[in-house]
Amino acid sequence: MATKNLLEAVRETLHDAMASDERVFIMGEDVGARGNVFLITAGFQEEFGRERIIDTPLAEASIIGVAIGAAMAGLRPIAEIQFADFIYPAFNQIVGEAAKTRYRSAGGNTCPLVIRTPYGGGVRGALSHSVSIEALFYHVPGLKVLAPSTPADAKGLLTSAIADEDPVLFLEHKRTYRLIKGEVPEGRHTVPIGKADIARAGKDLSVITYGLMRHFAVEAAEKVAAEGIDAEVVDLRSIRPMDRETIIKSATKTRRVLIVHEDNKFGGVGAEISAAIAEEALFELDAPIKRLCGPDVPAMGYAKEYEEAFMPSPERIADAMRELARF
């Protein structure tokens, strides 16, 4: 297995999908000549042609809407939203249309569509190139929402998403693109949608998280391990469907739960994680369920001070672990 960063894993997966299935095509802003703003699809247009690597107009609702139509007609579009912040204009197409296509037609039309978009902060992207969007979509029946954090999972889940018969929102944390490296299986590699990953096994407390925060949580766990706190880190990978079973198992085992995400706390994905535990394992706990999340402000700002104030860090996670372990 070769070591790759997350961006390379995404790139390789897209490339393999394009090469192996001619129903697959890619559309989005600047995905063609420019090869995507992060250079993920650099060279694709030369290789696969302008018909299959489509530089779309600057219009997100139509990026998704046209992709939905193509999917209904039997193709396998992979639509890109350049930054997650720009997905809002396509909200109607994703939530009102893609998610309901199968249901509203009782299976008569379907929508096998992958929407890829980079999200999250830590790259000085200011208010409008930093947001987390998972909580705006994970509530929507008919959609799947994935947020891989390792190169191998990015490959495995993206491969599964492209093969999926339903619309999948595929979230790539932009800070992980070049920061996170790891071994990536060669050839076709799938990871089942809806299965969490135990990033680190432990017995004293469980951190439930996903995305970039998985790595910060593992880092924090190593820190506190030296102090005798043995933390388990559960990486959801798939936000909808959510792996309740693994969550409950981990919570029941360690009896202390810390939920970590970068997205704002109030009404974030952490709320559902907590509620699931409170429903099924309330009496198995030795401490209240804690959430360490982004603060309830619109987004991180441009100045680095804002970014630092906003993002949960390994230090803050370690502190929260210590507090929880002491409870």
Binding site: R52, S62, G65, V66, G69, Q93, E97, S105, G107
Partner: protein, 338 residues
């Protein structure tokens, strides 16, 4: 039928006397279905009915300009006549009005007229105005990518052209010259909002100038002119000439739906005056003048339509409704919880 030529030198390409009678029949069949829907609603048997009265001519003309089994229809909720003329049966139509489990459009989930009919290439739409127009472009893009011969026709009202997504759809289609016909059925109202409050222009067709393809206007109460106009656009698309925006001027004879009361925003005079434009008697006269139909045939066709709709009504009403468990099907390919 603007200029009412007493004799046409020849019938337009593709329209034989038999096809013209078929078109007439679909208009009558639709009217019968339409009236039935409102009657069932008044009887409390169905909670909601939509109408296409005043739109029958453009709808039948458009459907006849398409090739069944090849082309795609991405209609809107007022397209009863287009759907029936493109292969939907009265039983299917009535099943959807009664929201029966066996309703092939949506298994009783959606309001009437939201389709899908996959085996006849009629797409499913939501109630969200104009959201389907980009889908139609995507279907046309797929046809182009796969070098199929298919043309897509999508339709909508003039009010729908205000939505941003409508603009995005036309813009995309204009760049990629996909095989599509955008059909605007301009009845001058969006529920209660008159066209003058909907846009700063008189003709929706003028908007095509912003997308790099032609915009044409036809009398949407004349099925022959409607057929010709749409047919030209369809064949242009089929031969690689790209999109056309067709604006069919028609009118809405009734309230927006069974939930609306047009008397709150339209004068009685206006309501009466649009009735004189009813496309069905006008087409009857046109056919009569050409010796293609007589009163007997008209009576026969009308009673045939009534029998069909009666049969469909009785049959559909007798079908089983969905069960509570059916609520959970078709959420995902793999079942309710993914």
């Amino acid at each position: 039928m603007k200029s009412e030529p007493k004799v046409r030198a020849s019938l337009p390409e593709g329209l034989t006397p038999e096809r013209l009678l078929e078109m007439y029949y679909y208009m009558v069949l639709t009217r019968t279905c339409d009236d039935r829907g409102f009657a069932l609603n008044r009887q409390g048997k169905i909670p909601f009915a939509a109408t296409c009265q005043g739109h029958e001519a453009i709808q039948v003309g458009a459907a006849f300009a398409l090739r069944r089994g090849v082309d795609w229809l991405v209609p809107y909720y007022r397209d009863t006549c287009m759907a029936l003329s493109f292969g939907v049966t009265p039983r299917e139509q009535l099943m959807c009005l009664f929201a029966r489990k066996g309703d092939i459009f949506s298994s009783g989930r959606q309001f009437p007229n939201h389709y899908s009919v996959p085996d006849r290439q009629i797409a499913s739409i939501s109630s969200i105005i104009a959201a389907h127009v980009t889908h139609a472009v995507g279907i046309a893009l797929a046809a182009k990518m796969r070098k199929q011969n298919a043309v897509v026709l999508t339709s909508f009202g003039e009010g729908s052209t205000s939505e941003g997504e409508w603009h995005e759809a036309l813009n995309f289609a204009g760049i990629h010259k996909v095989p599509i016909v955008f059909l605007c059925q301009n009845n001058e109202y969006a529920i209660s909002v008159h066209q003058s409050l909907q846009m700063g222009v008189k003709n929706v067709a003028d908007r095509a100038a912003g997308y790099g393809f032609p915009g044409v206007i036809c009398d949407g109460t004349d099925p022959v002119q409607s057929y010709e106009t749409v047919h030209d656009a369809v064949e242009r698309a089929r031969s690689g000439g790209g999109p056309t925006l067709v604006e069919a001027k028609c009118y809405r004879a009734m309230s927006h739906t069974s939930d609306d009361n047009q008397l709150t925003y339209r004068t009685q005079d206006e309501i009466e005056s649009v009735k004189t434009r009813d496309p069905i008697p006008r087409f009857e006269n046109w056919l009569k003048e050409r010796g293609m139909i007589d009163d007997d045939t008209i009576a026969q066709l009308k009673s045939k339509a009534l029998r069909e709709v009666n049969d469909a009504t009785d049959w559909a009403e007798a079908q089983e409704p969905p069960s509570e468990a059916d609520l959970n099907t078709h959420v995902y390919h793999s079942g309710p919880l993914s």
